[in-house]
Amino acid sequence: MTAGASAAAPLELRGFSAGYSQSEIKVVDASFTLGRGTLTALVGPNGAGKSTLLKGILGLTPVHDAGAVRFFGQSLDAARERVAYLPQRSEIDWNFPASALDVVAMGLYRRLGLFRRVNRAARDEARAALALVGLEAQAAQPIGELSGGQRQRVLLARALVQRADLLLLDEPFANVDELTERTIARVLEDLRANGTTILAVHHDIGTVRANFASAILFNVRVLAHGPAESTLTDAAIVRAYTASNAANLSAGGAA
């Protein structure tokens, strides 16, 4: 085992790789450690493998090196209750017959346990999470009738009720209205201040500094990791956004 402090890090990757098949590895040799109470943006161009990295970490991609990821010094299975994930909004079938409250309550299903029904306490908790993201009035509304920003906030509320210590968010700020952006930014900052560790995929390089203290510049592999100000220099961004994935792969082979 490694030394105490790093073993207990909320998220630690050491030479992590992931992809959809052995011939399509989108994440190569990623290594980084996230400390407790940090809010980090995962930044990189389209197709850089940012979403694949998040999914791979959570074991959702067909190929992933589970042994190279530690959550609070443990395996994913051991730490599952401390980890929550927010998928991209577009990956969800919003025509599914469910109310906003139904969806948020799903975040509680693991804690409720097998065969147990969603009880009043769970509904109250889900309602409180909806209030946190400003959707208390929409609790009974079918998710199909919600706006894009409201849907995003419902997904955030679903992650909130899991009361996780590590949040992995895939594009929480993508195509949302201003109110939603402000709400999400506020909620994330509050969580961080209370010791939650947050890693969020963020594609808009212009707004990273406003919402995140630290950043990981990523294109197939980790190019830089540190405070957002000093990490996202013009030179580093140009390097990340112009380097083709193939070039990165071959350069990595030599490293």
Partner: protein
């Protein structure tokens, strides 16, 4: 309105039992259908339903060969369940393994299983007891030819399946809505998927004698599709689907008992499709009015 003429047919207690059994089957079919549709498994379900035919025929032939009687009910049910399960596994496997797309895999499997079933059925018909037992009725279903013992067995199977669905309602909802989320929460997604398939196959098997193998899956899909016109929670939509399923099944039986040569399956599915069209009309009209106002 059908009651007086039904009493006149003299079916009495048996009719009530058949109606009850049909109602339970219809409710189960509608409830299971909600999840089948949400999980986008409608076409696979259709193949699985048709695939019950070769299983039934093989079970009949096996029963004859083993001298335990081809019409042994439990044997036919097991046969149907086996090939239906095989088909439910075969379609996704085919589509993963070969580049013919999900639709191609579905069409090929349907042809394969139902074609085999039709050939086996003609073999069964050549058996004396096969033609007497009216295995052909299994194609389109017949409430009139269903004995009260059969109905009790089917209703029991349907009730057990309904209880299993109710117990795992929460988990199946999660699976149907967001499989990835289910996985990150640590739920056994593969087992839940298998369970949904088992519930579907149990529904097909429970309903095939009443609704017929060709149309039994229509009773799973159509009421659930109708319920999608209604909004609200998963529980509400599932309950509406179950209600539509039960209503269509009962209406279908009443109609088919009224007209002697009308098989039960088509009558049921027409009732279900009628409800679907009504809901469709009401929705489009509602939308038009909303646009005007």
């Amino acid at each position: 309105m059908n009651a007086p003429s039904l009493a006149a047919t003299g079916l009495g207690a048996n009719t009530v039992l058949v109606l009850l059994g049909c109602g339970i089957f219809g409710a189960l079919a509608g409830a299971v259908g909600t999840f089948v549709i949400a999980r986008r498994r409608s076409l696979i379900a259709d193949v699985a339903g048709h695939a019950a035919l070769p299983g039934v025929c093989l079970a009949f032939l096996a029963g004859e060969a083993l001298h335990i009687g081809g019409r042994t009910p439990w044997l036919l049910l097991i046969g149907a369940a086996c090939t239906a399960l095989l088909a439910a596994w075969f379609v996704p496997w085919l589509s993963r393994r070969f580049a013919i797309g999900a639709d191609g895999a579905t069409a090929v499997s349907l042809a394969l299983f139902f074609g085999l079933g039709a050939v086996l059925l003609s073999l069964v018909q050549s058996h004396e007891s096969g033609s007497q037992g009216g295995l052909r009725r299994l194609l389109f279903g017949s409430a009139a030819a269903t004995s009260s013992a059969d109905v009790k067995t089917l209703a029991a199977l349907a009730l057990v399946t309904l209880v299993a669905l109710a117990l795992l309602f929460k988990e199946l909802s999660l699976l149907a809505f967001d499989e990835q989320h289910a996985r990150t929460l640590g739920f056994p997604v593969r087992s839940l998927d298998l369970l949904l398939t088992l519930l579907l196959v149990a529904t097909v098997v429970a309903g095939m004698q009443l609704a017929g193998i060709v149309l039994v899956v229509s009773m799973v899909i159509t009421p659930a599709a109708t319920a999608r016109f209604f909004h609200g929670s998963i529980a509400r939509v599932t309950a509406i689907a179950a209600g539509f399923g039960a209503a269509s099944a009962v209406c279908g039986v009443l109609v088919s008992l009224e007209f002697e040569h009308l098989p039960t399956g088509p009558a049921m599915t027409l009732c279900a499709a009628g409800l679907f069209l009504l809901a469709l009309l009401a929705t489009t009209r509602g939308r038009a009015e909303a646009v005007q106002s």
